[in-house]
C-alpha cells in the first residue's frame, strides 16, 4: 500500500487545489491555489521517476552504471517550476491591475462580462 502513497498524495493535492480555486473569494488566494494544484504534478512525476536504492543522477562522485533515479522527470519538473513561477507572476500582475481599476479582488464582484 505504501508504494501507492505518493500517487494518492498527488491526487489528493490535485483535488484540494481545484477545491481552492473553485471556492476562492480572493483572486490572490486563487493564484496560490493554482500553485498548489501545480505541486500535485511534482509529486506525481517525482514518484514515477523514483527508484528504490537509486541516488541522484549526478555522476560526479559515483561511477556510471550505479543505479540512479530517472533524470528525465527531473528535467520535466524543472520546466514545470519555471512555468509555475511565470504564470503566477503574470496572474498576480493582472490581480494588481484589477484591484487598481475595479477596486476589488473578489471574483464575485469583478463579474463584468456574463450571460
Amino acid at each position: 500500500m505504501l508504494n501507492y502513497l505518493a500517487y494518492a498524495v498527488a491526487a489528493w493535492v490535485f483535488l484540494w487545489g481545484l477545491y481552492g480555486i473553485v471556492t476562492s473569494k480572493n483572486l490572490v488566494h486563487q493564484v496560490v491555489c493554482l500553485a498548489i494544484l501545480q505541486t500535485s504534478t511534482y509529486v506525481l512525476l517525482l514518484a514515477i521517476g523514483f527508484k528504490i536504492g537509486g541516488t541522484a543522477p549526478i555522476f560526479a562522485d559515483i561511477p556510471v552504471g550505479t543505479p540512479v533515479v530517472d533524470p528525465l522527470v527531473q528535467a520535466l519538473m524543472l520546466t514545470d517550476v519555471v512555468v509555475e513561477a511565470t504564470v503566477a507572476a503574470l496572474l498576480l500582475s493582472m490581480v494588481v491591475k484589477a484591484n487598481e481599476v475595479a477596486g476589488t479582488v473578489d471574483p464575485e464582484e469583478l463579474r463584468i462580462l456574463m450571460g
Binding site: L2, L5, A6, V9, W12, V13, W16, G17, Y19, G20, K25, N26, V28, H29, V31, V32, C33, A35, I36, T39, Y42, V43, L46, A47, F50, G54, T55, A56, P57, I58, V68, V69, Q74, M77, L78, V81, V82, E84, A85, A88, A89, L92, S93, V95, V96, N99, E100, G103, V105
Partner: protein, 88 residues
C-alpha cells in the same frame, strides 16, 4: 529512507490543504513559503537536488515574495483610493 519518504509525503498531504484553507492572503504567504520548503525537502529526499534547488529559490522565496509585493501594491492602491474619497 522509506520511512522518511512516507513522512515527507504525509507532510505535503497535510500542508497543502492548510495553504488552501488559509483564506487570508497575508497568512497564506507564510503557509505557502513553508509548503515550498517542505516540497524542496521532498525533492531532496527523493534524490532530485536540481529540482530542490530551484524549488527553494522559486517556491519558497520568489513566489511568496511576489505575493507580498502584490499585497503591498494593493494595500497602497486601496489607501490611495480612500484618501481620494475623503478629499471629495
Amino acid at each position: 529512507m522509506r520511512l522518511l519518504q512516507c513522512v515527507v509525503l504525509l507532510l505535503v498531504a497535510i500542508t497543502a490543504p492548510g495553504v488552501v484553507l488559509s483564506r487570508d492572503p497575508k497568512c497564506q504567504v507564510v503557509t505557502l513559503s513553508f509548503y515550498g520548503l517542505i516540497c524542496a525537502l521532498m525533492f531532496f529526499i527523493f534524490q532530485a537536488p536540481d529540482v530542490a534547488l530551484s524549488q527553494i529559490t522559486i517556491g519558497a522565496v520568489m513566489l511568496p515574495l511576489m505575493i507580498l509585493l502584490t499585497l503591498t501594491k494593493m494595500r497602497r492602491q486601496n489607501l490611495r483610493r480612500e484618501q481620494e474619497k475623503k478629499r471629495r
